[in-house]
Symmetry: C2
Subunit: 352 residues, 2 copies
């Protein structure tokens, strides 16, 4: 169904929610977005897979990226959309078709923004990093993302959340010697050997770091533990998986070094990690955007795609309609007041 | 194939090994044993399922049970038997068709033993306790097992191993509060809450208990640990499974109380347990048997079916050919010297 970009933000959000787009099945919604944007001659539209990039080319001094992902987590009894009073319910209404609707309307309706804008609508955000359309673009065509500021329209309850913390998962593995549990002194118990690791985790004091006036709170948590061969065997292997959420003053390398220090003497293997993103509130473009939106800026604790921009040296913030607590939930929804407010704030900023 | 009970112990062991009898598939071997024993008029033979009981009824002052299980663990590239030099290889050669062969020859060939004998050949020993033919008999026809001493012919490397330790498995579970790991201070980590449990296990000093001159060594070990919801979630549940091997001076109730003391403050659930068996070396019948066999008596650390007799108040010991280290192994085997020695020792004792 063609997307009408001359409608209001609530109608457009509902239309997007009603277009099924679970991760890896974004062709239809990407086609719709692609077709709709190409109708506007003030936009230069390019497509890479199911990622659509639409740019204004006005020769402005500054350029801003406005980005949103098109995919959703799987349906959970919440498809299609349902409007109830002042709330739009449905899969993706919060995460993040509300933000995508705002961005599409801005792209279509503001032909002469005060800064040049690069709109990016991408696929594969809700699944493994390798499928992330924004990440692919950053690797293969970084010039398409060049900008002074990026705004990722993930749900933030219509407030600005700056930067994001990094995340690193690492496995700490202990070894022992297998033996029959009836003669346990013949062996060495790898699960018992995890005791100091759990002690360290239980007594760990997480850092609180102030950056640009925002306080980031770190965290170091066991997210999994396993070990055991059989009910009558002293186990020779055990492992705990930890997740370190680190403030954006630390690089991934520094985070890794920190974990090695914390768990000195244990075998530690990083299984995956993603860098944080500094809030960049002192950058002129960011400061101007913050001043325009108003309200309190909060630090972003969770990892988001703003970090993709940090890798490219571009300050990035999260700003979008919807309470992130409802993302990935069966009762996902977005208040239409937030859809309208975020749309209005962005529109006035681009025309101020 | 009919079993020849007039042959030598090596030939009979090989014939038994060559009769497939994985647990729950003991019909053929039980039929063979049943038929072979009924040919001897000095024996009163009864059958319960695939458990055969053959008794002498000579009115002796004392009665001894000689028991062995007919089933094996699954084939592991070690079927049928293979005689190589002085070693008989094959599934069940060690655990415990060598012992069964000895018992069958004694039953057939010694028509007037100095004590009355109850021979028990049973099924379902290598799997869950509910299938254990000896256990069934103890519950349904305990009078068939009445005796002054029981000898379980499990492999002991042809030495006497007295009594056995009890075993108890218990789960210790911790709870917490689930939260996104990016905002871990909103939750409470159940894996971290296991730290004092692992500390307790790592520093636990196991008892050594002397009974009838034998030193039993206890053990308390984690045999499994689990926890974790997802890589980005503070887990709200975690559990460690412990296995307590306790000396036979403790009942199951006392073992349970001990675990509750050791893990005070934690939720502890016993998942299964089996009592130990006192060595009973001071009982006249046991002492006489030990004197006859000679050699050093060792404590049995692993749990065996001797405990089934303890529940009935009958002292019981383990004595049989084969090194128990090779039980359940692909290279399972028994030295023919041990088959002959154990046969000779038992035969001379029953006729002394």
């Amino acid at each position: 169904m063609p997307l009408d970009l001359e409608t209001d933000v609530v109608t457009l959000t509902a239309a997007l929610v009603d277009t099924f787009s679970e991760s890896l099945q974004e062709k239809e919604i990407a086609d719709d977005v692609d077709t709709a944007l190409r109708a506007y001659p003030h936009l230069t539209v390019e497509r890479e897979g199911h990622t659509i990039v639409a740019r204004t080319e006005l020769g402005r001094d500054e350029r801003v990226v406005i980005a949103g992902h098109l995919d959703t987590v799987p349906v959970n009894g919440n498809f299609p959309s349902r409007l109830e009073g002042e709330i739009l319910h449905g899969l993706g209404s919060c995460d993040m078709k509300g933000g995508v609707a705002v961005a599409l309307l801005l792209a279509a309706q503001i032909s002469e923004p005060v800064v040049d804008v690069t709109y990016v609508f991408y696929d594969g955000e809700e699944i493994e990093a390798e499928f992330n359309g924004l990440g692919k673009l950053a690797r293969t065509r970084p010039e398409l993302l060049a900008a002074d500021l990026a705004i990722v329209m993930e749900p933030t309850d219509a407030g600005i959340e700056a930067g994001c913390q990094g995340t690193m998962r690492a496995e700490i593995r202990t070894t022992g010697e297998r033996a029959h549990s009836a003669r346990s002194w013949m062996g060495s118990n790898a699960i018992h050997a995890l005791a100091p690791v759990l002690d360290t985790l239980a007594t760990y004091v997480a850092r609180e770091v102030e950056i640009d006036g925002l306080t980031y709170r770190e965290g170091l948590n066991a997210v999994g533990i396993s070990g055991g061969v059989a009910g009558n065997v002293v186990p020779d292997e055990a492992a705990v998986m930890v997740n370190y959420r680190f403030a954006p003053d630390r690089t991934e390398e520094e985070a890794h070094l920190h974990l090695q220090e914390v768990f000195e003497g244990f075998g530690l293997t990083v299984t995956d990690s993603a860098p944080g993103a500094r809030p960049g509130l002192t950058e002129p473009a960011t400061a101007a955007f913050v001043a325009n939106v108003g309200g309190t800026v909060l630090p972003k604790f969770g990892w988001t795609d703003v970090a993709q921009f940090t890798v490219l040296g571009i300050p990035a913030i999260n700003y979008g309609p919807g309470n992130p607590m409802y993302a990935h939930k069966a009762d996902e929804h977005v208040p239409i007041e937030q859809l309208r407010r975020v749309h209005q704030t962005m529109a006035s900023w681009l025309q101020s």
